[in-house]
Amino acid sequence: MIEIQNVRKSFGQLEVLKGIDLNVEKGEVVTVIGGSGSGKSTLLTCINGLEPIVSGKILVDGTEVHAKSTDLNKLRQKIGIVFQQFNAFPHLTVMENVTLAPRKVLGMGKAEAEAIAEKHLNHVGLGDKLGTYPTRLSGGQQQRMAIARALAMSPDYMLFDEVTSALDPQLVGEVLETLKMLAEEGMTMILVTHEMSFARDVSDRVAFFHKGIMAEIGTPAELFENPQHPETQSFLASVR
């Protein structure tokens, strides 16, 4: 379970998160939507401790992420994350991209790591690209590889940050398919996305962020059909 308690975060003068509260239960899929700069990406990077926070608390399975005593490297193994920007390791093949962390971080043997990697790569439909270098992959394939790479660490949670927004339109579908599959398999996920119909489809709850505040949260039906907050209304109107 991920517990986010009154989290505040600033970059210099700029306050980016102004007291966020959000609990994500095991098996839940929570989608975060909101305008550009509203703090969605920042929240995700705070959850796995890539960014420090100013005040408040984030607990993952009861461990406080930003406590001094927390072994972040260990914690991060539980939390997979896939970013908007492609970030394949360009000097490694697809297979090596996926096996690197299991081998070096978990100390897995080569054969075992490759077996797991192959399973996940097959799962995301890249079973035939094992020896390929990422520069030869399309954007959609790169994002699916990044998902397999994260899954290979057997995380309990997955965070997705607009994984389709840098993609050409015709490639978006294949990646969303993969996400949907994961959701159906019961993975706990926080998803930032601009694909509203997709959000409605897979989410248990949808949160709307506005200028560092979680303005509204509810089931997809509640939030999309009957938005309460005026900003939610105008945001939804603008993306439709």
Partner: protein, 217 residues
């Protein structure tokens, strides 16, 4: 073309000088590169403000003639510290620091060229800072840095011609000694120049080739 008094002995003598040039260069480049990587990483890690003293220190090696660095180091070690260090040692010491100053810049550029998001991805997979450095940053930074590094190593080889001031008889000094005896300046200088050229040119071309290849993908 040349009617020369150059004997086999003299060629051996020249070869010895060339050997010294190569040894001094090799030692300085190895040590300088190790130091340069350390300094470069420190500079990236600490940021511009905190690493300002280091930056300033390294800057000296790039802003003062190598000849003066050598003379000063020699005088300092011997006159002020009263240490009995060989000229060879002083030469390697100065050239190593000299190399490290340039190398730190190259390393910094290489590391900066690795996208933040790639490094974040590595850390997100649970890799430690060290693992990130070792498996992701260094391999990627090397691609960016290697061509310039080759240029640097060749530069150090050429600059090693100045270590004669601390009584190290490298190639150019050996040539001058032979000129003293044989009085065939042009012929001997051409031999000497050809030697530098033969080592430098192919490596420089190789660096250019790598640069082209790696900037394409």
């Amino acid at each position: 073309m040349f009617d020369t008094a150059l004997s086999a002995n003299d060629l051996v003598f020249l070869a010895k000088g060339a050997g010294i040039t190569i040894v001094v260069t090799a030692i300085s480049v190895v040590i300088g590169t190790i130091l340069g990587i350390i300094f470069g990483v420190i500079r990236v890690q600490l940021g511009a403000v905190l690493s300002a003293p280091l930056t300033l220190f390294l800057d000296i090696f790039r802003s003062v003639p190598l000849l003066i660095q050598l003379v000063l180091a020699n005088a300092f070690v011997g006159m002020v510290l009263q240490l009995q260090l060989s000229g060879f040692f002083v030469a390697c010491m100065v050239l190593s620091l000299y190399t490290s100053a340039y190398c730190a810049e190259i390393v910094r550029g290489g590391i900066d060229a690795v996208p933040t998001v790639t490094r974040r991805a590595a850390r997100s997979l649970g890799m430690s800072w060290g693992q990130d450095m070792r498996y992701i940053v260094m391999p990627l930074a090397t691609r960016v840095a290697l061509p310039s590094w080759i240029g640097l190593a060749l530069g150090v080889m050429k600059d090693s011609a100045l270590v004669y001031v601390v009584q190290v008889t490298e190639l150019l000094k050996s040539t001058q000694i032979l000129i003293t005896r044989l009085q065939e300046p042009l012929f001997l200088l051409l031999i000497c120049g050809a030697f530098y050229f033969i080592i430098s040119f192919p490596l420089a071309r190789f660096g250019g080739y790598l640069e082209k290849r790696w900037s394409n993908d």
